[in-house]
Amino acid sequence: MTPPGPARQALELARKDLLLEGRAGEALLVTAPFGGVALLLFPLAIGTDVPLLRSVGYGIYWVVVLLFGVLVSLRQSATDTPAQAALLRLTGVHPAVRLTGRAAANTLLLLAFQLILLPVTVMIYDPPLDSWPWLLAVLPLVAAGLAVLGTLAGALAQGFAGRATLGPLLVIPLALPLLLSATQVAEAVRYGRQPWSWLALLLLVDVVAALAVALSARSLEEYS
């Protein structure tokens, strides 16, 4: 029997992660409502000034996506026990393939997370929707970048008791270009400019993060 290729292996691992998340419901049934609560709290803290909320709504949405999206990437169901990791190693799955599978599952979950929070943001903040066609590119690019960085942080903090707090500290500062680009796309559209340079920055961050995962996967694998 021919063993499945790396792409098939990564897809199967992503499917396994999604199945586990489907059973646990940690990302979409717990973290997403928590993000919704955060969106609701900002107006109570900064004041219910409708024009002000309209102008800051889009930025607040991306801050919530960034902060809570890391929790989606570092969810409990996205951890491998030493026995699971050993089994995958024995079956010949390359560490990069393992991390790619996890990143792919994280990307889909983050995209779903973003899509859940977007209508909530529109409803609460009523931000200008003139940049919505660009969101079709921004949403998946941010989801992919955050997912890859989250996967890397998850691998770095694997097995730690403080994984859920250390992981965000490692990811958030590195994810700053994602936040900047996502918010600046809307800003550029508002002032009648083409936001291609910000999309290019998003793509660059995604590619660099993916390369970092691919190159460091074997080094991170050895510990377990």
């Binding site: 490692l170 500062p173 510990y223």
Partner: protein, 244 residues
């Protein structure tokens, strides 16, 4: 511990004294007056933050290649010193910013990216503290030490790429430096003195790490007092001697 300071420490003390004299005797800025003298500490501190993290990068990459414990110690010590100098850079910039810009902090790209760099390397140190096993700690922090360096070019180029309140590079730029000769000489003297301070701190931190490792090795496996050791399970036969 040596009672008399070594040659390097003595040279450093002399260099710092000379740099202090140079900083105090250099002409004041035409607009900022004596406030500008803070730059003789702020700029060298920022330069040392870059240098520290560059050495962390080199040592981390070296560890991934050669797996030598000394490289891990160098990477860790340099990151610690770098975090200190980054914090100093931010604090001094803030002290300078209040009278000159009118605010302690502003949303300038250079300031924000520097603060992010500070937090990235705090994350690096947190990662090291969270890992107990020496080899796992070295491996994970080496990977992160290489990744984290991606921030440094962004910090340095932020004033060129974005419109900023922070002034663009004065010395490290393609064209000739745009600074008075005396000021430049005082600045370079301070950069040299601070680099020596960095070397002294780095050496001291590495020695401390070696001593810590020796201590851990000496006490590894020794019967230390464990939490809850005073509590013992009740002796059933003693409590109930007649129980069959």
């Amino acid at each position: 511990m040596r009672p008399v300071p070594g040659r390097l420490t003595a040279v450093t003390v002399v260099a710092v004294a000379g740099a202090l004299v140079a900083a105090l005797t250099a002409p004041p800025d035409r607009l900022q007056g004596n406030l500008q003298r803070l730059m003789y500490v702020h700029v060298p501190a920022a330069w040392l933050a870059y240098l520290s993290f560059a050495i962390t990068l080199g040592a981390s990459a070296g560890w991934l290649w050669k797996r030598r414990a000394s490289l891990d110690r160098l990477a860790s010590a340099s990151a610690e010193v770098g975090v200190f100098f980054t914090g100093l850079t931010i604090a001094l910039g803030s002290i300078w910013g209040k009278p000159v810009w009118g605010v302690w902090w502003t949303w300038d790209p250079r300031l924000v990216t520097t603060a992010m760099m500070f937090f990235v390397y705090l994350g690096y140190l947190a990662l090291r503290r969270a890992t107990l096993d020496a080899t796992v700690r070295a491996r994970r922090s080496a990977v992160f030490g290489v990744l984290a360096f991606a921030q440094i070019p962004v910090v340095h180029m932020s004033v060129v790429w974005w419109r900023a309140v922070h002034q663009p590079p004065t010395v490290l730029k393609p064209a000739a430096p745009t600074i008075d000769e005396w000021m430049l000489a005082a600045l370079l003297a301070n950069v040299l003195a601070f680099t020596l301070v960095y070397v002294v701190l780095l050496r001291a931190r590495i020695r401390l790490a070696v001593a810590e490792e020796a201590y851990d090795a000496a006490h590894d496996g020794a019967a230390g007092e464990l939490a809850g050791q005073a509590i013992t399970t009740p002796d059933y036969r003693k409590e109930f001697p007649n129980h069959v």
